[in-house]
């Protein structure tokens, strides 16, 4: 472990974050609200801290970063960035004690969307913009962004990229990691631009369109309105946002190929088919379940079912209906959606469809082998065999995910939170969804969680966003052994 190197790169990330505070400042100046002072102060502190780290740990040229260092940089980097991202909230005093600010900031960067705010609309606009903007930064990944625009990460960028985007089957779209990262960000920015335009066409202000786009595309879920998207009560906005949530839940390398003229990629990709099929199936089931019991017309049932299912399964976390008033079956389906999550290589969280698919196929294979004990069989995805070690790593991931979910929810219940809330709060944070059930349902927030519970959930959000291994590995003593 070369600590100089680790802190040096973390310094670069911090500096970078400080500079990006210029964007909310612009809105602060535009609206002339009280966010200017805290933003300016935070920007000063963050830039200074970044420079200090960078200069204090200046390094000789590094031509490689080890696998371990990559994981340490990414986890430490995300934590530090979460800390500095919380500064504007803390200095403004509008978000309460520091733990709340840190919670809000990490919830932003990890694109979770769980909030501790009780009255969002009362918060100054500059800060709300920052709150949305950090989701956008976190969505495609702050490390991926730095690899894309900071040339001096060079070769080491590859290890960092792998630690931040640990998809089971890595796609390298271009020969060089820097170009791959750049392409992904370009696609991400392009789709975001399309959404801004679509929202503005529907009559949303530029500010609200930007804020909502910045939280749709990373499947974040922060809204600038207390009632989330329900505030607008518009079929058009519901439709546009459902569409873009689905896009954000699909592997971005498919979008890239689509933009390059391969129009059939979505259909050809088996994970994408699985994802869209699952979404369609769940919408139908929920629609049937809530039609009549909650909503009078089939149209209404479909509209609200579609929005809620897509919002949860893509791990966005917007709401247009209080699904806690729905029948138990629908609520449970939504809870299970939190585990399924979106596609690998998308901005969504959860376990990811690709892993669930692999897991199901693995289970089937086990049964098959019981029937034909001497059969030689490979697990295939899209016609190609999946290597043994990938399958093993996926099984390990599922085990860790469930295990950590169980431990965390028991701990949360131990702090005096009721069963439904504990289970849903942990599922919603570890899957980076946002709202859960019970006390943290779509119409509530995380403000009344116990103090230690907030720290626990912050930890869950980081675990979920960096897909378990990268974070949990830091707790393994072997990792620190020389």
């Amino acid at each position: 472990m070369r600590w100089r190197l680790i802190f040096n790169i973390v310094g670069i990330l911090t500096l970078f974050l400080g500079i990006s505070m210029i964007f909310p400042l612009l809105f602060g100046f535009h609206f002339k609200d009280q966010s200017i002072a805290p933003l300016l102060k935070s920007m000063g502190i963050t830039v200074a801290a970044g420079l200090l780290l960078y200069l204090a740990f200046r390094r000789a040229e590094v031509d490689f970063i080890s696998h371990r260092e990559g994981m340490a940089i990414v986890t430490i980097g995300w934590t530090v960035v979460g800390f500095f991202g919380a500064l504007p909230f803390y200095l403004s005093g509008e978000f309460g004690p520091f733990v709340d600010c840190f919670f809000e900031s990490v919830s932003g960067f990890t694109t979770t969307g769980s909030s501790i705010l009780t009255n969002i609309e009362a918060v100054s606009k500059g800060l709300l913009f920052w709150r949305s903007f950090i989701q956008w930064l976190g969505g495609m990944g702050i490390i991926v962004l730095s690899v894309a625009i900071l040339p001096f990460l060079g070769v080491g960028g590859m290890q960092l990229y792998k630690a931040e985007v640990p998809s089971p089957v890595p796609d390298k779209l271009k020969p060089r990691i820097r170009e791959t990262a750049l392409v992904l960000w370009k696609v991400y920015a392009l789709i975001s631009l399309a959404e801004v335009i679509m929202l503005m066409v529907g009559g949303m202000s530029l500010y609200d369109s930007l804020c909502h786009t910045f939280t749709t595309m990373p499947t974040g879920g922060f809204s600038t309105k207390n009632a989330s998207i329900a505030h607008y009560d518009s079929v058009y906005f519901d439709g546009v946002i459902i569409f873009f949530m689905l896009l954000a839940g699909i592997n971005f390398s498919l979008h890239y190929q689509f933009l390059r003229g391969k129009t059939l990629v979505f259909w050809r990709d088996s994970e994408c088919r699985f994802f869209l099929g699952a979404v369609f199936f769940l919408i139908v089931v929920v629609t049937i379940n809530i039609y009549g019991s909650v909503y009078e017309t089939i149209g209404q049932a479909l509209r609200y079912a579609a929005f809620q299912v897509v919002s949860i399964v893509t791990t966005t976390g917007y709401a247009t209906a209080d699904y806690e008033m729905w029948p138990a079956m629908s609520q449970l389906i939504l809870l299970l959606c939190m585990f399924l999550g979106a596609s690998g290589g998308s901005t969504g969280g959860g376990m990811k469809c690709i892993r669930v698919m692999l897991y199901l196929k693995y289970c089937y294979k086990e049964l098959f082998i019981l029937i034909h004990p001497r059969a030689v069989q490979h697990i295939k995805i899209g016609g190609e065999s999946v290597p043994e070690d990938v399958v093993r790593s996926v099984l390990g991931f599922m085990g860790l995910y469930i295990g950590l979910f169980v431990i965390s929810s028991v701990l949360l219940a131990g702090m005096g939170v009721d069963i439904v809330t504990s289970v849903a709060a942990v599922a919603a944070t570890i899957g980076n969804i946002g709202p859960g059930l019970g006390l943290v349902g779509p119409t509530d927030n995380f403000a009344q969680m116990p103090y230690m519970g907030k720290w626990l959930l912050i930890w869950c959000m980081l675990l979920g966003r960096l897909e378990i291994y990268t974070v949990i590995i830091l707790l393994v003593p072997e990792f620190w052994r020389k």
Partner: protein, 454 residues
């Protein structure tokens, strides 16, 4: 610039690693998932798992946009088919193939003119014999490169532990030795490459790289306390394909050659193909045999068996028994830095030779030759100064060359000029440039950037 490399073995891996560090876009194809994983874990390149001779895989790799495809798998057939398919899909792409079978030797030109139109065929065995030939003439040289058809030599040698140059500043070498000192381009000390200035001091044990005109090489070497000796007697251990090639070459040069081979049947083949060389059946590490064959009178012992451990032992043994010089063949490139520690300075590897040969063909613009030194930390290349290039027509001191770049000689109509700050490079001059790895992309640009307008 996009380069496709078929084959992720030692040769493919090293070429990819070299190119990836120079900001080139590299795609590596191999059928073995483990080899592919090794590449994707260590290098910033794109990898594709599949057969390199499969047209679909080649298209997926973006062959049409690729400037060069290098087929360097262990199989001649795969390499040939990969080039053939590449020729059909994308005739404009430059093709390089690594082909080892002797049977193809005569057909290198045929393959260039007819399908599959392979621009360059690299035979590692031919390359390694060339390297041995160059090393043999200069005892103690670690690296010998030739430029401008042999007019300029680039030599790397270790300074003796007792050298009188220990602690002498570069600027004072001429004064200390009373001889004109050659241009020292680089020093390797404790595994690190230093690009020295006049004030830097030499130390005993340094590996010094210098450039010299071929006819002044004798004098240049004497500055460092070495001298060229004429080779009269050579012993080759290992009569494989490389051993046979080397023996035939030495026969042509009328050098008294003995070749030791363990396998009796192979000895019969060798005796059939060789006329003057003495073929001995026996073990290269058999002391009795070596003593009987007057090992102490040998000028050079070249150990070339397929087993590197055997080669190392045989070299150490023969050196101890009085052979003046040894050249050792090893396979694992990672052994290179260890060799000088155990006293074996002249080391060759077919793979290393192949890598060097392939790299020089991948170079952009009018680069005629290139050799890489010291674990690829730097490279020496020969290029034609184009009329449109930035380095032409100005005194050298007014050209802003990137850091780590040294113009070591200018060749104008078969005349070698050692440049000073006042020298002016004229169009069509050939220049030999030393460049550290970081500066290579920049220097390539300087040499070739204007070429793209044509």
């Amino acid at each position: 610039m996009k380069v496709i490399i078929v084959g992720a073995g030692e040769v493919g891996f090293n070429i990819a690693s070299h190119l990836a560090r120079e900001d080139k876009n590299v795609v590596v194809i191999d059928i073995d998932p483990d080899a592919i994983r090794r590449v994707s874990d260590n290098l910033d390149v794109q990898v594709i798992s599949g057969s390199g001779s499969n047209p679909l895989i080649l298209e997926e790799a973006g062959l049409k946009q690729a400037e060069i495809i290098a087929a360097v798998t262990d199989s001649d057939e795969t390499n040939l088919v990969a080039c053939l398919v590449a020729d059909i899909i994308s005739p404009a792409t430059k093709k390089l193939a690594r082909i080892r079978d002797v049977g193809y030797d005569e057909f290198h030109d045929t393959f260039r003119e007819h399908a599959p139109h392979i621009d360059t065929i690299i035979n590692p065995e031919i390359e390694v014999v060339k390297t041995i030939d160059k090393l043999m003439t200069i005892p103690g040289a670690v690296d010998v490169g030739e430029f401008a058809d042999g007019l300029v030599k680039f030599v790397g040698i270790h300074l003796d532990p007792l050298t009188k140059l220990d602690g002498v500043r570069l600027a004072d070498i001429s004064a200390t030795t009373g001889q004109q000192a050659p241009l020292i381009a680089a020093i390797v000390r404790n595994e690190e490459l230093i690009i020295p200035g006049g004030k830097d001091r030499l130390q005993a044990g340094d590996l010094v790289y210098f450039v010299s005109e071929a006819d002044k090489l004798f004098k240049a070497l004497s500055v460092f306390g070495k001298q060229i000796e004429t080779i009269e007697r050579v012993l080759i251990v290992g009569g494989g394909r490389i051993g046979l090639r080397l023996a035939s070459l030495l026969e042509e040069k009328s050098i008294y050659t003995k070749i030791v081979e363990k396998d009796a049947r192979r000895c019969i083949v060798l005796a059939e193909k060789l006329n003057k060389a003495i073929v001995l059946h026996g073990d290269g590490s058999d002391q009795e045999l070596l003593r009987e064959e007057n090992i102490q009178d040998m000028d050079v012992v070249v150990t070339l068996t397929n087993d590197e451990e055997t080669n190392i032992i045989a070299s150490l043994l023969t050196k101890r028994m009085g052979a003046k010089n040894t050249i050792t063949r090893i396979n694992k490139l990672s052994y290179f830095p260890l060799m000088s520690m155990i006293g074996l300075e002249q080391v060759v590897s077919p793979r290393h030779s192949a890598i060097n040969a392939i790299l020089q063909h991948i170079r952009r613009g009018k680069v005629l030759a290139a050799i890489s030194i010291k674990d690829e930390q730097a490279e020496v290349m020969e290029a034609v100064a184009l009329e449109t290039s930035d380095i032409v027509g100005k005194p050298l001191k007014r050209i802003s060359l990137p850091q780590g770049v040294l113009v070591t000689s200018i060749i104008r109509k078969n005349e070698v000029i050692v440049p000073t700050g006042e020298s002016v490079i004229e169009p069509e001059d050939r220049i030999v440039i030393f460049a550290s790895r970081k500066a290579i992309p920049k220097i390539e640009k300087i040499l070739a950037v204007k070429l793209e307008y044509f």
